[in-house]
Symmetry: D2
Subunit: 388 residues, 4 copies
């Protein structure tokens, strides 16, 4: 558990960072929700603020008064056990509260939190909640970037977010297979003073067969080879649900890729550009990652293999799809009450991704960190590392 | 046909008026599209401008250069025969072009149009197109208001648009039945120097049976009586499709009505208020208008009866649902090319409304004006006048 | 009003005829419902029987006992005001009651009805209900044939219904325009001793402009010309909703048409055959009829024009789409209670068809008969007659 | 690998058994498909037959002629790489081929297979295919029973399948916790002469923590307690997707349960009866099994725990939901070609069930057998065994 002083610094830095990410946006960019899994930036700003108001200030800071009583049902996300919804609404339809009002809300809650952290003795239990709140906001920073990319990258004008944003990771080292012996390995996090989510805890033993994992990520060129070899047309490479999905959604290439004058281009946060063949592939679904591996007569690593071998390769620029389903570790315990909704309720029908991405907040990811998404989702900066 | 000078004035006044309607909006209000039939205000601003660029300036003004080549597919609405769409998109997902940019677009096109109107001899044919463009923009002024009402009225904060906006029409005169003799009547518009849409032309004879039409609109209180008598639960009052619709959509009251502390309230452009029982009912579908009439053992007038009798009662504050389907008049001719898409292509599965509303642009509606909507739509300021 | 004796004969003949239509079916053919608007033949057999049990025998025949109490909610169709549904079900999922049981039900109700008609004095009111019941069954005879065609014609084995069934009408007379003078005409049926539906009553005057109507129906060859001229690709010919529909449903030809070895074939009740170019076109939607007329620079007649001119041309082999929406005649009164659901509740969003078809029961259709369907439906034997 | 002689007996017995299961059906029961995951019995009869024709006889039996060339696309299920579909169709719409014809098809293929097995030397590879074909048919026997239950149990007449069919398993022994030590265990099947599916192979080591598993299944009474304690209303017990599912589908009790006169009843294959509180619960989804375990502060076992401990308790009457996702074992290899579609393509978004059920074919399930279904499916005879 980190100290309150560290909390104060980390809290302030995190709040500031979130706002910095939004600086390049026009007011209009804060508002739209082009697809259900993308949230409007203004909602991220409000929701991460509401977290501190709801779970920290409201019941703990003496004489705290809510910024606006109606904000609870506007910015509550999936915490079904908290609050009530009067008019059922869709985040992307909410023009009000305005962006300006939400910044005022942020400022108010940030100031109140700083005041609270400076002038109060905080219980260990509450400290843990504040720590979750900070890491919750760091998670939303990543979503903010990927959601902004979706919003701008699906606008017909394809406006750049920021010309200096660098997405590409050049993977031009020679491909090698890293070997790991069969045996029993420790997996998961211990209470070690650092922050971990509940889904990482319960360090436990796992038996792994001998395996080999690649030292590098799959590149754009390798994926182009797959496409040109008819990968999207060969039913035997795909899961049954994946085959339905690529046919229904007419998926023929990674997200944000467009063929222009017979050359592959893609939208990136710094604008619309030609594909760099040596850069690490990104914006593919688990389904595509799996089909690509099938085509290579290889496979994706499990999350355990990844965690066992991760010291021997570089990672952190792409969330790497694993073959593992997102399941509770043995003896997983979810938190009491509404915060128990944080992770456990998603432990079905999702796949684990390991690593981190160019959009992940600093110091947020770790070797034991378990990210998870539905197998068809592609808007995160994910990628493929092969195993055998 | 009005003269070019008049066009210039009417054009300038119309453009200005559209912008005045938007003055009370926050930037965010311009962006959202809560439901498919509502367009974001920024889209209305751009689309009415694109009309003049596409159908007037582009091919007629010497040396005209497009404000932005990409705007054509952003602001083209349903003119399927013009242009092409690169990324299929939904109006409510478009954060760019920004509102500021769209105002610059408006200013540019307005200035170019004024310059064009002042300094060029304009053919009768082109004059007709400009006239349609002006009236097209007036139609969008009404949609702008009703769409703003939908956007704000479905926001959980229920923000007012403008505190002085007056929606209510008090109908406190005694109810009387206006009598009309059986006979042959002239229906529709002649080329009379005033502007008419193509769907009004072709003046022609219609045979009407003797009929009686009410001198006043149905009030909120009368509709509350219908609701309290179980109107929404009595299947025999409803069309089959209407019954499915009210059950699927859980329709129990007019749009924007909410019961609070056992009293009916509604959202209006000036805010959330108690229902005035003597005001003319509004925001009901044709289906509800029909069921209400059935319950009264009366009926809705046809559009012909309405047109025949309209001199004998006051109208213009509510679009009045008629029993008539929206069909072409005998010898209806649609315009050549893309402008032919204006009216004719909607002449199926819609009902005619006659009159006008408190949101209708000045001098826009006329005794022969034919408005039309699908029978389930309620967000226009429509109402009920009974006949027998 | 026809006499009870005539009723008895007509009743018995109608019941028998319905069963004859089913003779070529395998038991399995009675069961399936490939699409919502098609009912399984066994349901038609049961539903037409239930009508007599529910509206005649149950409350009028002394000591009548229901064949099976549960059949009411199995065979009630849209009479929402009668009965209750315990398990919400879809007609096509009902394997029970078996076909054999339904024939037993028919036999029981037929016998009870005959007994009732022979041995009781029947009020005029009840006589009218029986008459409707008989005509209701005749309507279902036509649906039975078109539904059987849908069931067999969408089976990949394309089995014939009966090798002697003759669908084609050869239209090889020279095309002529039949002229009608402008004027006031009488439309609709009088109480004349013959059976009419409530939607035909209320004879009334209509004013018609001068018009011309074709002496013959559009042929397959004419429609092939339209297809080859790109009719399905030219947006300007179509209603907006029609354009969405043909693109969503990938409509490229009339229903049951397939191109084999570069020649058009179609499934007909006597089997799969090459198209006869001189036969009258059938199985097109109103949308396609309208687009075809647009392409010819002609139009469809209104139902009034059709009724005025019908004595001057042959009709009765194809239901002819008209431009008229299905609306109540002036002074239309629907019957009290559940039978009031018969026609009136469908008077929105449908188009009138006039004439009759090769599947229409003998003596069922008349010059004033108003058939109606949604504009996208094609499985009836409908066709096109042009006007100008 | 079993010998050809054994194959012959097993083949003949299996074919006969499938037909015996259908004896109580009316012809109509063979035809319907009330929901996508249920297949019509006639389809099961044809599909299991097609398997032998397609994968055995067609390419291996000298001079074999297909029973009917068109049956391939009628009875192919999900083998996307084989054959082609001319008219896209839904299994539940197919009245033809008739049931009689399908029995003739069965008889023909059975006879040809017997002849082939008797008079030919069969390669090991082909023998393996035949063995899969037999087990494939045994799997369909179970589906046949559960699909028949769905068809009859969703018919408003609730007809019994067979009065002697016994579904209930009385679990009236005292509840005990069976203890297993932490350690490394062997999981999966070896090539041991018995038949196993590809998904069981690759015996491998798994590390298990110490755990306890119940000696008995959850009973109806325990589940009623959960319902009465508000289990379906407490969001904290449910996965997020489960909560959406129970609310969208209005799930309030196990499938086939109905409350009548304030007592729980259910449809069983022997008819509609009162619930026996001591019988093992069945027809619940994984979502409900998980929520029930949460409510008990317990959990479901993993498939590995189940396999390790299974010798110490009775099983085989209910498929037991496990917490494990359906994933490939290490070194899983799918078969080449179309048979490779058998299992591997379903290894995403499904949960493993272990055990067997009262509908499982004799000698079909084993301690290593891995059944799998989507977490929302309830029509199999599944149940709950708790662990901690």
């Amino acid at each position: 558990m980190i100290t309150t002083t560290t909390h104060l610094e980390l809290f302030s830095a995190t709040r500031k960072k979130t706002e910095e990410f939004c600086m390049p946006l026009a007011t209009e960019d804060y508002v739209v929700q082009p697809v259900e899994f993308v949230s409007p930036p203004k909602w991220h700003l409000g929701h991460t603020t509401w977290f501190f108001e709801e779970f920290v200030l409201k019941n703990n800071k003496p004489n705290y008064s809510l910024f606006d009583e109606q904000f609870a049902y506007v910015f509550n996300s999936y915490y079904e056990s908290v609050g009530e919804k009067v008019i059922r609404t869709n985040r992307g339809n909410l023009s009000r509260p305005t962006v300006e009002k939400i910044y005022a809300y942020r400022e108010y809650v940030t100031r109140e939190m700083v005041d609270f952290l400076k002038n109060n003795t905080i219980s260990d239990e509450l400290n843990a909640v504040i720590e979750i709140g900070i890491h919750h906001e760091k998670q939303h920073q990543e979503l903010l970037l990927t959601d902004i990319k979706y919003i701008l990258g699906n606008n017909p004008l394809l406006p750049a977010y920021h010309e200096n944003f660098q997405e590409d990771l050049i993977e031009d080292i020679p491909q090698k297979w890293i070997h790991t012996e069969e045996g029993v390995y420790e997996i998961g996090a211990e209470k070690d003073g650092e922050f971990h989510y509940d889904n990482e805890f319960g360090q436990h033993k796992v038996y792994a067969n001998e395996f080999f994992i690649s030292n590098k990520l799959v590149t754009n060129q390798e994926y182009i080879d797959f496409m040109e070899a008819g990968g999207y047309e060969n039913v035997l490479l795909w899961h049954a649900e994946a085959w339905d999905w690529i046919n229904t959604e007419k998926i023929k290439a990674p997200q944000y890729w467009y063929k222009l004058n017979n050359e592959w281009h893609s939208y990136k946060l710094n604008g619309f550009e030609k594909i760099n063949p040596n850069a690490a592939l990104t914006h593919i679904s688990y389904y595509e990652a799996f089909a690509f591996a099938q085509w290579k007569n290889l496979r994706l690593p499990t999350e355990f293999e990844w965690e066992i071998a991760q010291e021997k390769f570089n990672w952190g620029k792409r969330w790497e799809w694993t073959e593992s389903a997102y399941l509770p570790y043995p003896n997983y315990k979810k938190a009491e009450g509404a915060l128990g909704e944080y992770n456990g309720k998603f432990m079905v029908n999702q796949k684990v991704l390991r690593g981190g991405s160019i959009a992940t907040a600093n110091h947020h990811t770790k070797p034991t960190y378990r990210n998870f998404f539905h197998p068809n989702l592609r808007w995160q900066f994910n990628g493929i590392r092969l195993a055998k």
